[in-house]
Structure formats: structure tokens, C-alpha cells
């Protein structure tokens, strides 16, 4: 049965509603008596708030309230965005919400927000992350408040250890909030024994998730006292915990409903919810906050800017020796967590090293609040490493793919994390691009063209999860989970349940339940949903199958072991005419006086072994040597996906990831002026790859089954973005004859590199 269900390309189950506009997003629902909120955003990057005058705003017809930090009934301490959704006394980035105007209409709220007057006392803005580390540097935040509970969001993406002890010798400013050290072996000796050692400093900017649907939340109190939070979020339970913590509410009084997502890419984990909830609780009326695009650019949580100093070496035969990294992560105002841990782990790549010294620094500045972005910290790490691997190959006159293949991590190899690697498809994906005809053409290209390759990987997250599979009286199945349907995971659940139970996939519906009624699932992120929630769905479907077999066994008087379920029919093995449909059995169960237990299964998973995914890319570019423009001609991505439950969705993730990587490579950067004011806060200034720029992307699906994954499947959403910028950088280096060490590779930067 499973062979005809698993691995068949089919449309996403949510596609018809999405393309016809029938999907109702968090901003669409009708709520009686709804008020509309508009934030007032800080115009200074670092300042003390002397006062906020809302009197003119309150005079605007329709304005109900002007709320400041003191008006929100928040009890949790700390400077995290849950505890401090409105700046209390100190503004720490331009765009930080400082007040909320709530009105009867969106227009009145906007008119009111414009009329709020904030009196600032300017403080020195800390904008340069490297300067911020120096002992004498001014602090990006002068008021100190800590809350040990605030680190909950970090574990969503990858449970990363914090390495070993800090180096006590290194004197740094109070802006350095976290230092990670991972050391093993003698790196200096490893470099000394190398035939070639290469190094460089790589820079990547703040990058915006650029989801279609801006951040939005609606909150209201039911007459019973239950708080309902209807929101665009990746994680309903994490949002429930954050709201309960901030407002000191019992968990059972907070019902979080994860509405259909209009894109998230890591950026939607309890950010605007405390604002809408705070206003709803303060005013005792339903409140909706829908960020405008420019507010979303300024006030949310993009990917960190990073500076990476990297040095690597190899023996004459290409065996990698030592790796030394110093990775500086700009956390902006985020005191709770940063990507210095994961990034300084991933900078070693899916390769074996004899010795390593990897350091990560999380540094506060007056820019944004850092947040997660598809494969947090990984594209930067791969950009640095894969650029230098090409330089190493050049120095040793080795083929770049052979160099990587020779050192690729295999199952059981102990990487820089210190633990043996699970099953990993690094070699398999490298072999696939090595065989690609495009790679063979790289030395015979016209002037101005170049081909580059790179690999990138993501370790894959873990979190226990549960699911329910219920057979309805018409013989169809309903799968219930609390995972936010992101990147098509619900469509994957339908296939898993259908195959595990014995139904056609179109007979399966998937419901995303809320925190009151649904089984537990963590946030949709970290490439873990299919691997963990999917495994729970599989077990729930198997459990339901046992129920249907038990009922059929009584009806047919045949032992359960001699029965099989296929396409909604239970049959005797070897005697197919002795059968009964799942629908008939369900009807016998689901009725007054029925004889059988409802055909319903519950399943859970607590995966302990990760399922990393590796993707290798080939990029073909043409550069205009006079203008510095880079044209993407062709892109190939080979990714190990474990098992492609639905190849159409898998290839969609691969294409989307590669396209986002093109944005990192050539277009995207959130830039501030020297005072910390955002310069690229609209799509007129912030470029994302569009249909005009993205070339044909060829997808090569490589299947190295994950032993613990449902049908061998694993999370594949993050890996495809990781190596794409590096592959494009290597292609540009091949075309230009010179390398760029900073992303994005804009025309002025390429032009400048060509002249230096």
C-alpha cells in the first residue's frame, strides 16, 4: 500500500483555498466589537524616554486609548520582547514599539499614532558590532534587567550546547552577552603541518524574512475569562507559554489558535502577541494588531548580521587539518539568545577536522531584535567555509568537489559537536552534483561566466510531539495535530497517515488544532515537524489501524494478523473476497449501541537521534565586468531528503530555499545609517529575488532514509538555503577572477572587487 502513496507528487491540500483566496488568515476573521491597534515606533536607535504625550491622539475621533508600557498588565521581568513589548524607559533600537494607539477603526488608529508625541533624550547609538565589543565601548543598553526564563525560544531551532568555558584572557565590553568556545586538538600544530592554509573575514548583513503576510494577532477575552489569541504563528504552545508567563495567567486560560500562515521563515514566534493581548486585557475589548509592511520591516526580528574570521588548512592530498573561527553575531536588542552557538558549530560544515578552535560571540547593539530565519546562522557559516574550501582547492590544485568528498562526514564520524554523526547524505549529494553535466563545462565558459559549487547542511531539530488519527463515519480520516501548517507539513501528514493506515491520501483531512484541544506539538521550525510530528502521526495511524483490524476481525471472524487494510477496505490476506470497508466498520462503531471502539488512534514521538540534511548546489552566473551586475543563469540543487513523501512539495522547498539563498547572495540587506536609523525599510530599498531574477532551478532529490523518520523522511526546510549563497559566491569568484567577502554581492561591490 505504502508504495503507491509515498513518493507520489500531488498538490498541497491547502492549495485550492490559497489560490482562490478562500483561506482565512489571522487578519480576516470577524470579531464583534473589535478595536484596531497601531504601534508608535521609536525614531531613535538609543534613547531614554522622558515622556509620552498621547493627549492629541486621544482627541482624534475614534481613538479609545493610548497605551504605554505601564498600561500593559505585564508581570514578567526582563527585556525580551514578551516582557517588554513596549519600551519601558530605554529605547534600544529605531523601530522599537514605544506606545500603542487603540481605536474603533484602522484609520483612526493611524491618525492617532501620528499624533503621539514622544520626548526622547538621545543616547549614543551602538551600531558597529565589532566596535561594540571593545572594552571602552558605550553600552547598547544601560538599564539592566534579567530574566532567566527568557531563553525558551532558542530551543525551538536547534538544541545547541554552549561549548566549553570562556577564555578568561579576552577582555571585552559588557555588550558581549555570550561567548562560545569549542576546542579540540592543537590547531596551531595542525596549521603548521598543512601544505596550504587560507583565511578570510566574511560579512553578512541583517536579513529580513520577507513573509507575504505581515505579523498579525487578534486577542480577546471570552466571558468565561479565557483569553483567545488568534494569531499568525509558527508555534501555538510556545506562544501560550510566553503569554501565560508575561501576564501571569494559568495556562488553561490561554487558548492560542494558530491561524493559516502566510509565510514565516522563522520570524513568527510570539512577537506581536503580547501587544494585542496586553491591549485586550487592559481595555477588556477585542484588539487586533496588523503590522504594516514598513512597521514589519522596522519592528520585528530579522536574521543577525555576522562577521566571521575563518582560517582553515589541509595536507597536500587534501585532508583537512585545522579550523579556527571567530564568529561575531549581532544580536541587536536580543539579550535572551543568539546564533553564536549554532553558527560556530555549523561553520565546520559536514566535514571532518583534525583540530578545531571555534568561537562565537553574541553582541548587543542598537539594531532590531535578532530573531530566527530559515536555518539560523547557517548561510553565513557556509558562505565563509565554502568560500575558503574553494581557495584551499585552488592552492592545492585539487578539484573542489573531490576535496569536499574526501573530507565529508559519514555516519559515526565524530564532528565538532563531539558526538557521532547520525546517518548523513553528504557524500551522496556531492556525488550527484559532481556527475552533473554543468560541472564539466566549468573550464570552457565564455568570458564573464563562472560556475561554482558549495554544500550546506542543517542538523535538524528534535521535540516530542503527539497526534491523533480519527476515522469518521463516512470512512474518511481526520488527522489532528497542533503543528502550524508551514511549508506543506499537513500535506505530508496526510500521506503518512494514509500509508500507515491503508487509505487513499485524498480520504485524509488534516486539522491544525489549538492549544486547548490539540495534542502537543512544538513550533514549526528547526526542520523537525515531519521528522517528529510526522512520526507521531504515523504511530497514531498505526494505532487506529489496530482498532479497525480488531473490529474487522470480529466481523469477518478472521484473526487480525491475517487481515490487511488497503484503500479503505479490510481484506483477508490471500482471500480478497472476504472483506469489509473501513466505512462500514466505522458506521458500526460510531452509533448508539455500537459494538466497536471508535477507530481512533493516538501516537507520540520523542526522537533522540537527529536527522541532518545536506544540500549541494551548482551555480552558473554571468557578470558584467563594466557595471558589476551579476546575472544568475542556472542553478542546480541536490539535497538528501531522507525520503520524499511528496516530491512536489520537497522540490518546492528546495527551489524556495535556493531562491532565498539567491537573495542572501545578491540582493538582501537591512542597512542602518551611523545613528542606527533603518535605511532599507521598504521593498523600494530592500530587494528580494523575484521571478525576473531567479533562473531555472534544477532539483535533484537524493534519498538516504533517516532510520527513525516516518517512512525514512526527515525535515528538509532549512538545508536548501544554507549553501546557496556560497555556491553563488564561488561562481562569482570564478567569473570575476577575484573573491567577494561580503554579502550581498551588489553591483557596486562586484565592480569595486574587480578594480582592486
Amino acid at each position: 500500500m505504502s508504495d503507491s502513496v509515498i513518493g507520489v507528487a500531488r498538490p498541497r491540500i491547502d492549495a485550492p483555498d490559497k489560490v482562490t483566496g478562500a483561506t482565512r488568515y489571522a487578519a480576516d476573521g470577524y470579531v464583534h466589537g473589535l478595536l484596531h491597534a497601531r504601534p508608535v515606533l521609536a525614531t531613535e536607535a538609543h534613547a531614554r524616554i522622558r515622556g509620552i504625550d498621547g493627549s492629541a491622539a486621544l482627541a482624534v475621533s475614534g481613538v479609545v486609548a493610548v497605551l504605554t508600557a505601564a498600561d500593559l498588565p505585564i508581570v514578567s521581568a526582563g527585556t525580551d520582547r514578551t516582557s517588554e513589548p513596549l519600551a519601558r524607559e530605554e529605547v534600544v533600537f529605531a523601530g522599537q514599539p514605544v506606545a500603542l494607539v487603540v481605536a474603533e477603526s484602522e484609520a483612526a488608529a493611524e491618525d492617532g499614532a501620528e499624533a503621539v508625541v514622544v520626548d526622547y533624550e538621545s543616547l549614543e547609538a551602538v551600531v558597529d558590532v565589532e566596535a561594540a565589543m571593545e572594552v571602552e565601548a558605550p553600552l547598547a543598553r544601560t538599564v539592566e534587567e534579567t530574566d532567566d526564563e527568557a531563553g525558551d525560544l532558542e530551543s525551538i531551532h536547534a538544541g545547541v550546547d554552549h561549548g566549553q568555558a570562556d577564555d578568561p584572557e579576552e577582555k571585552l565590553s559588557g555588550n558581549v552577552l555570550d561567548r562560545i568556545t569549542r576546542e579540540q586538538g592543537d590547531v596551531a600544530a595542525a596549521f603548521a603541518a598543512s601544505a596550504a592554509v587560507v583565511e578570510g573575514t566574511f560579512r553578512t548583513p541583517w536579513v529580513y524574512q520577507a513573509y507575504l503576510e505581515p505579523q498579525v494577532c487578534t486577542a480577546w477575552l471570552e466571558p468565561s475569562g479565557t483569553l483567545v489569541v488568534s494569531t499568525s504563528t509558527q508555534g501555538s504552545f510556545v506562544t501560550q507559554r510566553e503569554i501565560a508567563r508575561a501576564f501571569d495567567l494559568p495556562l488553561e486560560r490561554v487558548r492560542v489558535v494558530a491561524e493559516p500562515l502566510g509565510g514565516a521563515f522563522g520570524g513568527k514566534f510570539a512577537l506581536v502577541e503580547p501587544l494585542a493581548v496586553g491591549a485586550a486585557l487592559a481595555l477588556k475589548r477585542p484588539v487586533r494588531l496588523v503590522l504594516t509592511r514598513s512597521e514589519d520591516f522596522q519592528a520585528t526580528n530579522p536574521a543577525s548580521a555576522q562577521v566571521t574570521h575563518l582560517k582553515i588548512g589541509a595536507r597536500p592530498d587534501g585532508t583537512l587539518t585545522g579550523i579556527e573561527a571567530r564568529m561575531i553575531v549581532d544580536r541587536g536588542s536580543n539579550a535572551g539568545w543568539g546564533v553564536e552557538g549554532i553558527s560556530s558549530l555549523l561553520v565546520a560544515g559536514p566535514y571532518n577536522w583534525e583540530a578545531h578552535d571555534l568561537r562565537g560571540y553574541g553582541v548587543q547593539t542598537n539594531r532590531f531584535t535578532f530573531g530566527a530565519y530559515r536555518a539560523p546562522g547557517a548561510p553565513t557559516a557556509a558562505f565563509a567555509l565554502e568560500s575558503l574550501l574553494d581557495e584551499l582547492a585552488k592552492a592545492l590544485e585539487l578539484d573542489p568537489i573531490e576535496l569536499r568528498l574526501q573530507n565529508a562526514v559519514g555516519e559515526g564520524d565524530v564532528g565538532v559537536s563531539g558526538t557521532p554523526s547520525p546517518v548523513i547524505g553528504a557524500r551522496e549529494v556531492l556525488e550527484r552534483i559532481k556527475e552533473h553535466p554543468l560541472w564539466a563545462t566549468r573550464d570552457a565558459l565564455p568570458e564573464g561566466e563562472g560556475i561554482g559549487m558549495a554544500a550546506g547542511h542543517w542538523p535538524g531539530g528534535l521535540e516530542p510531539a503527539a497526534a491523533v488519527c480519527r476515522v469518521n463515519s463516512d470512512g474518511t480520516m481526520t488527522v489532528v495535530t497542533s503543528a502550524a501548517d508551514m511549508s506543506g507539513v499537513n500535506s505530508g501528514f496526510a500521506v503518512i497517515a494514509a500509508a500507515a493506515f491503508g487509505l487513499a491520501p485524498d480520504q485524509v483531512r488534516v486539522v491544525s488544532a489549538d492549544t486547548t484541544s490539540g495534542p502537543y506539538a512544538g513550533g514549526s521550525g528547526g526542520s523537525k515537524v515531519t521528522y517528529t510530528v510526522g512520526a507521531a502521526v504515523m504511530r497514531a495511524a498505526e494505532s487506529a489501524r489496530q482498532k479497525v483490524l480488531a473490529a474487522a476481525s470480529q466481523e469477518l471472524e478472521i484473526a487480525p494478523d491475517d487481515l490487511e487494510v488497503e484503500d479503505g477496505v479490510v481484506r483477508a490476506v490471500g482471500a480478497p473476497d472476504r472483506s469489509i470497508t473501513v466505512e462500514d466498520l466505522a458506521k458500526k462503531a460510531l452509533r448508539f449501541g455500537g459494538r466497536y471502539e471508535p477507530i481512533e488512534g493516538h501516537g507520540g514521538s520523542a526522537q533522540t537521534s537527529g536527522a541532518p540534511s545536506v544540500a549541494a548546489h551548482l551555480s552558473h552566473v554571468r557578470i558584467d565586468r563594466e557595471t558589476g551586475e551579476v546575472e544568475l543563469l542556472r542553478h542546480v540543487i541536490a539535497q538528501d531528503v531522507g525520503r520524499a513523501l511528496n516530491p512536489a512539495l520537497v522540490e518546492g522547498q528546495m527551489r524556495g530555499g535556493a531562491a532565498q539563498g539567491m537573495g542572501w547572495a545578491l540582493y538582501e540587506q537591512l542597512d542602518h545609517d551611523e545613528d542606527g536609523r533603518l535605511l532599507s525599510g521598504s521593498f523600494l530599498d530592500y530587494a528580494i529575488p523575484t521571478a525576473e531574477h531567479v533562473p531555472e532551478i534544477e532539483t535533484l532529490v537524493v534519498e538516504v532514509p533517516a532510520p527513525d523518520g516516518p517512512f525514512g523522511a526527515k525535515g528538509i526546510g532549512e538545508a536548501p538555503v544554507v549553501g546557496a549563497p556560497a555556491a553563488i559566491a564561488n561562481a562569482v569568484a570564478a567569473a570575476a577572477g577575484t573573491r567577494l567577502y561580503e554579502l550581498p554581492m551588489t553591483p557596486p561591490r562586484v565592480w569595486k572587487a574587480l578594480r582592486s
Partner: protein, 264 residues
């Protein structure tokens, strides 16, 4: 993203439009592709929006030695209408503006009077020596495009004046024109754009994106670019734009010369 409160009135003819524009802080709107975005950002907050989109100021007509382009003519119309030989730069430029939706609504008149220092078509009009007919209560005056553009988003138009005709002289036989640009990857506006006209009487080149207004280069282009005041910002430095100006002028001229030879 909601504009400040404003009133709206639709003009029935040019005289009516001029009368409506007499109100304080009134602003004419045609395709809305420049005005609406700045209104939504509340950078522009007119008290009255005068809709001139239904006025009969649309269409392309060749009369005597000139092509008359109604200011309400859209980019899509300019991109697809056959023009006399020598005016290749106009459709070439129009095809590269915005996206299809913008080209279906955006108008040549709206673009010129918006006076964005990086807009494309004004450079083409400058290179082609275009003139504008401007109506007011006092009658019609004519002025060169270069006399309209005073600075960024600033023109010499009075509050109660409307452009009613864009007059492009047909170049003499054996002429060709072209437009070349490098765009900002987000906005699509020109980091540098160069328009060129090449013909028996000589060559004219205009630049956009590099200064307070698009302008014509006097004399030898290379020298003029070297001496020009060039704007730079954090995305594209003055040095880069100056170099790019030289490259794009050469490319526009080369294509204009090819067009002149009848090579399309």
C-alpha cells in the same frame, strides 16, 4: 499605510481641473503610481485630490515635425505604439519601467511632473529635446523639459497649471536613439540611466539617477561626466555612479548609432 484624510474630486475637463487645483493643497492625480505611494507614507498629504485620469489628454499623434504624446498616455501604450524612426529610446525606456501593472497605469505626464531625480523617461525626453505644453487660466505656454525640472521632486509648474502635451521633435533622417540603465535591485529606479540621440546633426546625451534632476551632458560626454556633480549614497558610491555613467553613455550611444544605421 492609510493616507491622511483627504477629499477627492473628478475633473470633467481641463478648465474644471484647473479650477479645482485652485484650492489650497490640491494635487492632480492621473495613474497614481507616484502620488499614491507617497500619500500612503503620509509624505504627501494633499487636502484635495483632483482626478484628471478621464481627461482627453491621452494618445500619440504625429503632426508636422513632431510626435505629440498626451500626458495621460501610459507606459504600456508607449511601449507598444510604433513611433517614427529615430525615437527608439521612448519604447525602449517605457518597456523597462516598473512592472506590467505599473506600466498599465503609470503615465508619462505624471512621471515627468513628479520629477523623481532617478526616473527614466525624463532623461529620454531631454536627449530628444522634448518640450511641454502647459495650460493655465492664462492660456498655454511651452517650455523645454529642462526648464521644468528644478530639483528633486520640484518643478517650475504653478499650482494651477497642467501639462497638456509632450512634444517630441522627430529627429532628422538617419538618426537613432537609445536608453541604457543599471537599476537599483529593489526599486527598479535607475542607479544611473543614459539616454542618447545620434544623427547627422550630432549626438545628445542625458543622464538620470546621478544628480538633483536628469540633465543633458554638454560637449564631450567623457569630460562632462568627469566634471559633473554626481550623487552617491551607501548603496552606490559617487565613484561607482560616475564610472557607470561613462559606461552607460557609451552603451546608449553605440546602440543609438546602430539604430541610426537602420539596425533595429
Amino acid at each position: 499605510m492609510i493616507p491622511a484624510p483627504t477629499r477627492y474630486a473628478r475633473a470633467t475637463d481641463v478648465d474644471h481641473a484647473l479650477e479645482l487645483l485652485g484650492e489650497p493643497d490640491a494635487k492632480a492625480i492621473a495613474g497614481g503610481q507616484s502620488l499614491i505611494p507617497v500619500m500612503k507614507l503620509r509624505v504627501a498629504r494633499p487636502a484635495l485630490v483632483v482626478d484628471i485620469s478621464r481627461l482627453e489628454l491621452r494618445g500619440i499623434e504625429e503632426r508636422a515635425d513632431a510626435v505629440h504624446i498626451g500626458p495621460l498616455t501610459t507606459w504600456s501604450e508607449l511601449a507598444s505604439t510604433g513611433l517614427p524612426a529615430g525615437l527608439q529610446a521612448i519604447p525602449e525606456c517605457a518597456r523597462g519601467i516598473g512592472d506590467l501593472q505599473i506600466r498599465n497605469l503609470g503615465t508619462i505626464g505624471g512621471s515627468v511632473v513628479h520629477a523623481d531625480p532617478a526616473s527614466d523617461m525624463p532623461a529620454v525626453l531631454l536627449a530628444l529635446g522634448a518640450r511641454l505644453a502647459v495650460r493655465s487660466a492664462d492660456g498655454v505656454r511651452e517650455l523645454a523639459v529642462s526648464d521644468l525640472l528644478l530639483g528633486p521632486f520640484t518643478t517650475s509648474l504653478g499650482a494651477q497649471e497642467l501639462v497638456t502635451d509632450v512634444v517630441v521633435p522627430v529627429p532628422s533622417a538617419g538618426s537613432g536613439s537609445a536608453y541604457a540603465s543599471v537599476e537599483h535591485p529593489a526599486s527598479g529606479f535607475a542607479l544611473v540611466g543614459a539616454a542618447a540621440l545620434a544623427g547627422p546633426e550630432g549626438e545628445t546625451v542625458a543622464l538620470t539617477g546621478v544628480g538633483a534632476t536628469p540633465f543633458v551632458l554638454d560637449g564631450d560626454p567623457a569630460t562632462a561626466i568627469r566634471d559633473a556633480e554626481i550623487y552617491g549614497d551607501r548603496f552606490a558610491s559617487e565613484e561607482y555612479r560616475r564610472e557607470l555613467a561613462g559606461v552607460l553613455v557609451e552603451r546608449a550611444l553605440a546602440r543609438a548609432r546602430n539604430h541610426a544605421k537602420g539596425d533595429r
